[in-house]
């Protein structure tokens, strides 16, 4: 946000700290274990969708293979634990490495296409990945998948094989993710990535290597997707190909669109909606999927830029009310972000 108003900045920081404190004490507030489970899943999805956001929201390439990276991360760390007895930290590091390798291999040919063609190529990769995970039974356990033993590590003395302990681990990764995306988009490199989204010809005329930036953004999305996958693996301690099928690529896309891509908090809101909404709709019993679809269609129609757009407008309006000094121009600009 472009503002020199220190009081306002201070106020925003205070709010952010309050939100963080709420999240830290959330396991004490949320006593129903099942809800804590949904929150953990939402945070894992937030990491996943933040990755998607880098390539889709900031670079402008709609990727349909984020769910495949999720699967690759899960299988990588899961298989290393099962076969080579690697620990949680090593598994996550391996997932990062795998994300970089696969991201580069897939990005190289697919990023030469544009628009819908890129989406189709990445969707094809998701289907291919699903086929490999299901078909290579010797390694992956085929359609039934495989289970691993719960992690033995602990965090600040809280064992990570408890739901609370794992919640804190995922929370740390989610906070690191949001800090990473915020810093990255505000940096020289991040601006070059956004320049590619805005105008590729102009970007190359100011010295941006357009293809390299696209590949970098795709690799970042792959790495975040793989980290999310590894975190998911060691949370549920079981993996099968079913969760990484092409139809789930739609769920990642929805989480991005419903929340609002190209923004920091959009993926967070989108992830919570996509994880929580089906549970809220349990009352509809048989018609749950139908209701889920209808609610999402309404959201996408009513708010084509995602839920986050009206929320930021409300937020800047509230800030302007509190700090009347700000001029209108700043407020409208901030609401466009």
């Amino acid at each position: 946000m472009i503002t020199g108003n220190n009081a306002k900045k201070h106020f925003v920081n205070v709010i952010l700290i309050v939100i963080l404190v709420v999240f830290i004490f959330l396991p004490k507030i949320v006593t129903v274990s099942y809800y804590l489970h949904l929150i953990v899943m939402s945070l894992i999805w937030f990491i996943l969708i933040s990755g998607l956001n880098v390539i889709q929201g900031y670079t402008g390439y709609v990727s349909m293979c984020q769910i495949a990276f999720y699967g690759i991360g899960a299988y990588t760390s899961g298989l290393l634990m099962k076969n080579l007895h690697w620990g949680l930290g090593q598994g996550i590091l391996a997932a990062v490495g795998m994300g970089l390798i696969v991201g580069t291999i897939i990005g190289f040919p697919s990023l030469r296409t544009k628009g819908h063609y890129f989406s189709i190529v990445t969707l094809a990769f998701t289907m291919l990945m699903f086929t490999i995970l299901r078909g290579w039974s010797g390694l992956t356990g085929g359609i039934v998948g495989f289970a691993v033993r719960p992690v033995s590590e602990s965090l600040f003395g809280i064992p990570l094989n408890t739901r609370q302990g794992y919640y804190y681990l995922v929370l740390i990764f989610a906070v690191l993710t949001i800090l990473f995306v915020k810093r990255m988009t505000g940096s020289r490199t991040g601006r070059a990535i956004i320049a590619v989204r805005e105008n590729e010809n102009l970007a190359s005329s100011i010295g941006v290597n357009v293809f390299a930036m696209k590949l970098l953004a795709f690799d970042i999305s792959a790495v975040l997707g793989c980290i999310a996958g590894a975190l998911y693996m060691h949370y549920v301690n079981f993996v099968s190909p079913a969760g990484f099928a092409a139809e789930y690529a739609m769920n990642t896309l929805l989480a991005g669109m419903v929340g609002g891509v190209g923004t920091l908090v959009g993926p967070a809101i989108g992830s919570f909606i996509v994880i929580f909404l089906p549970e809220m709709l349990r009352a509809a019993a048989l018609y749950r999927q139908l209701a889920f679809g209808i609610v999402l269609i309404i959201i996408v129609f009513a708010l084509p830029h995602g839920v986050v757009r009206p929320l930021t407008k409300l937020w800047t309006w509230a800030l302007a009310k509190i700090f009347r000094k700000n001029n209108v121009e700043e407020a409208t600009l901030a609401s466009n972000k």
Binding site: R183, S187, R188, A195, S204, I206, E329
Partner: protein, 256 residues
Amino acid sequence: MLLQLENVTRYFGGLAAVKDVSFGIQEGQILGLIGPNGSGKTTCFNLITGLYHPSEGQISFNGEVISKMPPHVIARKGVARSFQISSVFPTLAVIENVVTAHYCRQKSNLITGLLGIAGTRKEEKQVREHSGELLEFVGLGDKAHAEASALTSADQRRLMIAIALATEPKLLMLDEPCAGMTDEEQTAIVALMRKICGDGIPILLVEHHMKIVMEVSNHIVVLDRGEKIAEGQPEEIKNNDAVIEAYLGRSEKERA
């Protein structure tokens, strides 16, 4: 010569869009590149900036052959351009457009950016200050926080010049900077071009308004159907029979 085209030819299919064209631009010059529609002016621009590569001949900049290099490398060597159609970063604020364009002169990378080390923060501060100065320079100081797509087309053309200047070029190439402008706006752009040239950045100018080209250029190259038909001082060009024939037309001469 800062920029030198030597016998440059570019075919599209069997058709030569630019044929055996040679010219050069020196320090301190404003070189006008003129010709009727389809004469190959914009193709020349795209050849110099690396969007296309010459089929024959070569282009050198600062003594280095650049005709095989990709656009971003040529930009980093110091060739900046504006585009014929308005070309900005539309959803970003005007100031962010210019900040982004400092890309090729900044040194920070993803790691230093993520860590926010002191050197990077200082560089960011300098870039923001310099962006503000550039906006003042092109006359957009009061619109710094507007969204680029909300600017009028004349203002977008000013913004394109600011974006080009932010790359700290050794050569500035402007493709119809006055298109769709009123007389006063044109006068302001002419003054701006003189100031830029005075600051030591030579300009290669493509422009349809003859009055402006004649007024601002100190050297003119005339293209017709991809070939160079004349070159010289504005006065010489005005009285060159081939140019009058091919470009200005007879009625134009009678009117003059």
